[in-house]
Symmetry: C2
Subunit: 218 residues, 2 copies
Amino acid sequence: MRKKIEIEQIRPMDIEKRSFEIISEELGEREKLLKPGTELIVKRCIHTSADFDYAENLYFSEGCVEQALAAIREGASIVTDTQMARSGINKNVLKRYGGEVLCFMSDKDVAEEAKRRGVTRAVVSMEKAASLNRPLIFAIGNAPTALIHLSQLIDEKRIDPRLVIGVPVGFVNVVASKELIIDTGVPCIVARGRKGGSNIAACICNALLYMLTDNRGY
Amino acid sequence: MRKKIEIEQIRPMDIEKRSFEIISEELGEREKLLKPGTELIVKRCIHTSADFDYAENLYFSEGCVEQALAAIREGASIVTDTQMARSGINKNVLKRYGGEVLCFMSDKDVAEEAKRRGVTRAVVSMEKAASLNRPLIFAIGNAPTALIHLSQLIDEKRIDPRLVIGVPVGFVNVVASKELIIDTGVPCIVARGRKGGSNIAACICNALLYMLTDNRGY
């Protein structure tokens, strides 16, 4: 005999709203500890991962959300270090403000130069981004080497990002790369510790875009 | 004064290997509790998420790994429920065996039919996949409605997947959808509980592909 498994009847359009209600319920008092203005970003990260660690591990530099929203309004583009993150970012909304999503990781010239120099493609991708003369937001969900190299480029004043979303995931140099980017003083949103990923990078971008464009209120 | 942040010097090609060593070290005795033959999949999920919960929440139906590898060798294609998962799956390796990655979620006919019927696009996508006459692996990282509908199609013998990777993430019907798919008796790999995601769906596909094609041994 098959066991009985309960499915909640819910309209497709209501699923996300209900999810955010559950997240708020389970956060409880912890929601009040979040930095004002960052709640929607934190809750969207939890929604994307079902991992409440994001209620504690997200670092927001002072004023970074307002700075990021201003940058998007001015037409900033988003540079990512994975095709997955590029795929997950809501490009239609970004386009309304004049921005686009860029990822140089699969570019042939990037691969060749990385091989020649014995560095990661992420390092070369960051240099390629630094050569662009326009406002940029970086969404790094995979490569700590991207974040490490970005912090060097920032220190050397070769690049001046409007926001760095520093959420690579993993075990080698990931924790340190995030502390380095915080230490530069650049506007940043960082998932401290080992956790993160392309999904989290895309989700933080989307949270910012939805804050600008709709009235979901969650 | 800036604090000192230590960066480990490591060649790009050695980063993944070192990451898997750290995962094995931290798993310790728990690695021996994993179902033989599933270790590489479990460790790749931990590598993708930095979340050791995957050492405990992954369910593998009896013989599913061998069945999946046989299906890929026979040219099975992979159907996903997000463009992000499609983007993350190693399509070059899959192509060597004759398979491709399919995602119908952005198809215009799917969107229109979903709206007309008041169901999710994921439901219509699963029906579109069911109409294909070829061996299929499903990699569901987002929509519990996809998994719920798949289990109906399986019960009605309208589809006979070679493997279902059931790893939607979230809060509404996610846990139940996973139990439903396990209950069908179809070959499946499922992340029990709320966790999962497009990144986990892609990562399990890639773990299977790498088991077939290389000798990394991690």
